[in-house]
Each structure stands twice: as C-alpha cells, then as structure tokens.
Symmetry: C2
Subunit: 337 residues, 2 copies
DNA sequence: ACATCAAGAGAAACCGCTTCCCCGCGCACT
DNA sequence: AGTGCGCGGGGAAGCGGTTTCTCTTGATGT
C-alpha cells in the first residue's frame, strides 16, 4: 500500500460520504461548478467545513497538470540583487495565487541546468538567473524549460522573455559624469572576471573610450566584495587617475574605507562611483554616487512575463532593457585644480 | 480529458514500451530496486536516457505521499534576518535533496496561519517565522502543521522544535560591557513597539537593571531603520547618557552618522553598541561593537530539526537557544574622565 | 398520456508513478 | 521425475483529485 500516512488526512471521500454524495459532486462544489443543486452544494460545504477539508494540492496538480508554483534559479541567495528579485517575484506571484520554489545553485554553474530542469518539472515555469552559464548551454536548455523568463541573459534560437539591466549604459553615464566634472584620467576597478555583468560594464566602457578618445581609462583588478575594494586602495591611489569607477557599491565602500585610512579625501582628492544603489550607499561618508537598478520592479515584471506565457494570451514579448538611473551624491566632485 | 498538455511529455509508459517491459519494471529500475535482472535494467536505462526520461515529481509525490519540499513562512523577505535564514535553510535542505517553497506574509499576521496551512499541504514540513502571531493562534496552529520548526517562538501544548535567538541575553552582555568601561548612565534606543525581539531586549534590560541597581538606564524611542537612528541623534545627545545601546546595527549606523554630523565623537564622547553584526558593522567609522547572531547557522539547524522529524528518528528535541556573541570593536570605549 | 429534453448527480476513466500481489519459470532437493 | 521454493517481472490497485460520460429524474410540449 503506497503512500500510507500515519494519521490519514481527511480526503474528498470523507466529505462525500458525510454529505451523502459522490466525490465527483464534492469536487464540483469545491471548484465552484454551478451545475450542482443549491441544497446539495450547501450540504457539501457544511460537511467540508465541518471536517476542515482542504483539497490536496498534489492530487489536484496531477489531475490538472499544473502546480500553481513557479521556480526561480539563482546563483547565490546571499547576493542582495537576487534577494530583491526573489522578493519582487514572490510578492507578485502570490497576488495571483502562485508560490515560488527556490533553487540556489551556489555559484556552481554546472548545477544550474540540472536545477532548472528539476524546478521546471515541479513547477509551471522557471525564472532563470544564470550569469555564468555558457551561451551554448543556455541555448540548448531554454526550449526545454518553456515557460521561462531570463534575467540578465538573452537567447537567440527560441524567443524567450528576458529582463536585462543595461549595466553598460549605466557605467557609461557614470563615466560621462566624471568627464563633465573635469576628470580626464579615469580608472575602472573591475568585478569578478567571469561575471556577465562585469563584461557588460567593460563593453560599455569600450564604447565610452571610443566616444571620448581624449580621456585616459585604465583597468585595475578588483572584485565584488568590501575587502576587495579595501585592498585595492593602494593600486587606486598610485595609478594617477582622479576618477574611479568601481564595479559595485560594496567594493566602492571598501575602497572608500581604505582610502580614508590612507588620508586620501573623497571627493577632494579622488572622485568615486559605485553601482547598484544599495540601501547604505546614501549613508556612507561621503554618500556614494552610483547607478540605481530597479531590481524589485524586475522581480515584479518577471512574474508578469511569466504569467503571460502561462496564460498564453500573447506569446512573444521582447527583451526588456532596464536603464540604470544615475544617483549623483557626494563621492564625486570637480577634479582638483 | 483532464490535464491535457499541448506537447505531451515523455512518461514512464514510453520508456516501458521502448524497453519492452512493463512500467512497473521501469519504476523499479528508476528507483534502484535491485530485484531487476541486470540485462533488463540496462535496457531500461538505455531507453530512459535515449528518451531523456525524468520521472514526473508530481506523480511520485502523490504515490509516495511526500514532496521532498519544505515550506518557509516569513513575515518579510526584505528583512536581512529572514533572508539569511532562508539561505541557510535552502542550502542545507538542498544537500539532502529537498527544495524550499517560500511564503511571504508581507507582515500581515492574519495571513500567516493560512499561508502556513497551504504551505504544509504542499510540503513535507514547515518552518514558521511568525513574530506577530498571537500565542493562542500559534498554539492552535502548531499541531496541524506537524513537521514544524519554529523560529523565535515556542509552544507549550505540543512539543515543537524551536530555534530562538536570546536577544535578552545579548543586550545584557552589551550593557555589562559598557558598565565595565565605566559607563553609569546608559540609554536604550528602542526598536519597533510590537516587535517580539524588541520586547525580549527590554526583558533582558529589566534583568540588567535588577543586577546593576546603581546604573541609570533610560529609554529613547527609536526604530529599526537608518533614518530612525539618524533622527534620534538629538535625543541621544541631550539625554545625558554616555553609553547607548541601539536596537540594531542599521539604526546604530544611522545614529552614528547623525552624531558625527553634530560633531559628537564616538567613542570619545559617547559609546555606542548595535545588534546583529551585519556585514557592514565592521566597516563603519568607527567599527561597531555589536552582538552577532548566527543566523545562517540558524537556517542550517532549522533544516536539521526538520529532517529529524521527517525521518522520525527521534521525536522530541527541545528548544535551542542561541546566545548572541559579543563583538567588541571601536564604537565603545572608556567613559570620558 | 406519451415523447423529448435539459438538468443534475453518480460511475468511471484518467493524470503519472509506486508497490503489492501473484504467477511462471528454473533450480535444487528428495 | 516430482515437489518446493526463490527469483523476477507483469498486472492491477492505489495515491487524491478532475472531468467526461451516462443515466436518472422531473419538467415541458403536443
């Protein structure tokens, strides 16, 4: 006898026998089917509430072929960006009666495809954040995941709704801002090598240098952590640049801390920009000039794109690009005379 | 015909007919049942991988009466504490092949019970974080959720594994630390009124004043945000206390910022403690003395308690109290002469 | 009064998988 | 050679619902 439970839960059959009807009728009543006589329906409802009956979602899922659940695959749940996406997604999905199943690939990109497949099998759709996955693998995976929404990735073969933050655009604007302030020697403190969003920033900076050939731009290896920023302060201080573009706010805050320990003043001696506009960015000393990414809107929109596909109202919706919004604060200022 | 899918997925029957065996045999092979002839097993495996067959989890769940999924109910996913718990839980559960379904009650405590019930029906167990739920409701709800782990709550009627952070103990130790440094006039910048963890801190401080009758302790209404801390700086500066216990790190950072704007030096003029040891606490100027709560261990342990109940190796495991660990940093110093 | 029909409820099929039950087969033992 | 037995695989019964199909029943029309 498979699936026996110690304490058997109340099932549709219990309600049916209590109300003196067939379980088909109980099912009809529970699903609001109006072809049931009002008296009988009332009797069923009484029995159901008497027994505190709630339909078993697993049984329903099997019969209906849907689980009212969507999966999200993230590379690292400790990353505030993914936390915000998850939050936005979860709240938006909940409004439509859907739940969210999470799959954390722990930065192991070889796991991502497997996790996504598993999640898809349990859920009605998948939101995939897989910054490290190769393009080839993504192209192959995407069609098998069908109701799929991509974050910060796009596919060519199958048209898949994608939500991408335009990091390249953002960093260009920050660089342009520094130029406006008179800076001619800039440096970019890079993020993790294999990070897709770091690559996008580099692309954006290529365009920038093409546009401003007279501006000098050098690259300093950095990272995405406070400590990485902190430890880069020597390299930054000695590189001769007066305007520093940092990969993200966390590293920028580390750098800020390191510079202040060396007695280098921001923005008097050096201008500094971050990226992400995390909550504390406005509270550093000085407050950080940065680029805001509307990430919780992103989670919300991810759900909307997912819902469109599940309901199949209209299929193809193109990639949405999110231009970051530049926040001018105290960490950037005119170049020293 | 219920549950028809547009593109029918490959099922166990397809594998069975391809391998020329019954689906019972396929099932046995897929589940590693050794009573299958090696040749046949191999044939089945070939067919399965040929068709890329993966068992449908919903079908399995129904047959087995388990979903390999646990639910977590949180009041607010934007709260770093719950993010950390979620992360710890998710990673630990994943190691044992379980997934996590999230339910965000958006601080609406009336939703919590409903969400928890729904989650329980879909999952093999529930981790419940419901700081605002009334004791009565919790007592009534707990038995219906059986494989249940509580965070920062306990029950009396049904013995339920609980993981509670001993905020009272932590704040007492911080206060004692200030006394050791010579402070005799202390103030507590409170958290949100209805927050259970704020109440626990207040309880701890009651004990503290009983133990140190010669120390003066006053209370200043605060909050749990940076801005709340910032705006309290006047009240703090004028209250005459030399040692300030702040509800949490975020508010403490706000206060720190406000004080520095007023030219009040920390720790020379005023000593300051936070609570939580959030990642940035060590990077403020000066670094924040605070109490570290091992929250991701907490997620990890939540899973372990859950697993114990699911496997039913041993039933009752008592409440685990987590004493916060005091981190002495630069924001506290000897009282001014 | 009889035929037609619509409404409403029960029986049964089905979703995809696991596992119990049982039967056929080959081997060993008497 | 006949019986007992263990092994392995097929058939079928579930898991808990939804939905189609079918049949009963009461109302309506002529």
């Amino acid at each position: 006898m498979p699936g026996r439970r110690n304490t058997r839960r109340v099932g549709i059959a219990d309600v049916a026998s209590m109300a003196g009807v067939s379980h088909a009728t109980v099912s009809r009543v529970m699903n609001g089917n109006t072809t049931v006589d009002a008296d009988i329906a009332a009797r069923v409802r009484v029995a159901a509430s008497e027994l505190k009956y709630k339909p078993n979602p697993v049984g329903r899922s099997l019969a209906l072929g849907k689980t009212d659940t969507i999966g999200i695959v993230v590379p690292d749940l400790s990353n505030p960006t993914f936390q915000a996406i998850l939050r936005g997604l979860s709240i938006a999905a909940a409004r439509d009666g859907y739940r969210v199943l999470i799959a954390d690939s722990s930065e192991v990109s070889s796991e991502e495809a497997i996790l996504a497949g598993e999640a898809r099998r349990r859920c009605d759709g998948v939101v995939l954040c897989a910054p490290r996955m190769s393009d080839a693998e993504l192209e192959e995976l995407a069609p098998t995941l069908y109701p799929l929404v991509l974050i910060n990735r796009t596919t060519e073969s199958v048209p898949t709704p994608s939500l991408v933050v335009d990091y390249g655009q953002g960093i260009q604007e920050l660089a342009a801002h520094l130029v406006e302030l008179g800076h001619r020697k800039l440096a970019y403190l890079t993020g993790p090598d294999r990070s897709a969003s770091n690559v996008q920033r580099l692309r954006g900076l290529e365009k920038f240098t093409a546009e401003y050939p007279d501006v000098e731009l050098r690259f300093i290896p950095g990272g995405n952590t406070f400590d990485a920023g902190f430890e880069s302060s020597d390299a930054v201080a000695s590189c001769g640049a007066t305007g520093i573009l940092v990969f993200n706010d966390v590293a920028a805050m580390g750098l800020l801390s390191g510079l202040s320990q060396r007695g280098i003043r921001v923005p008097e001696d050096l201008s500094l920009t971050g990226f992400d506009d995390m909550p504390f960015a406005r509270y550093t000393m000085p407050p950080l000039t940065t680029a805001a990414v509307p990430i919780s809107d992103l989670g919300d929109l991810a759900w909307r794109r997912m819902r469109e596909q599940i309901q199949a109202n209209d299929a193809a919706s193109p990639t949405n690009y999110f231009p970051p919004q530049i926040k001018l604060r105290g960490s950037t200022g005119p170049v020293k005379a």
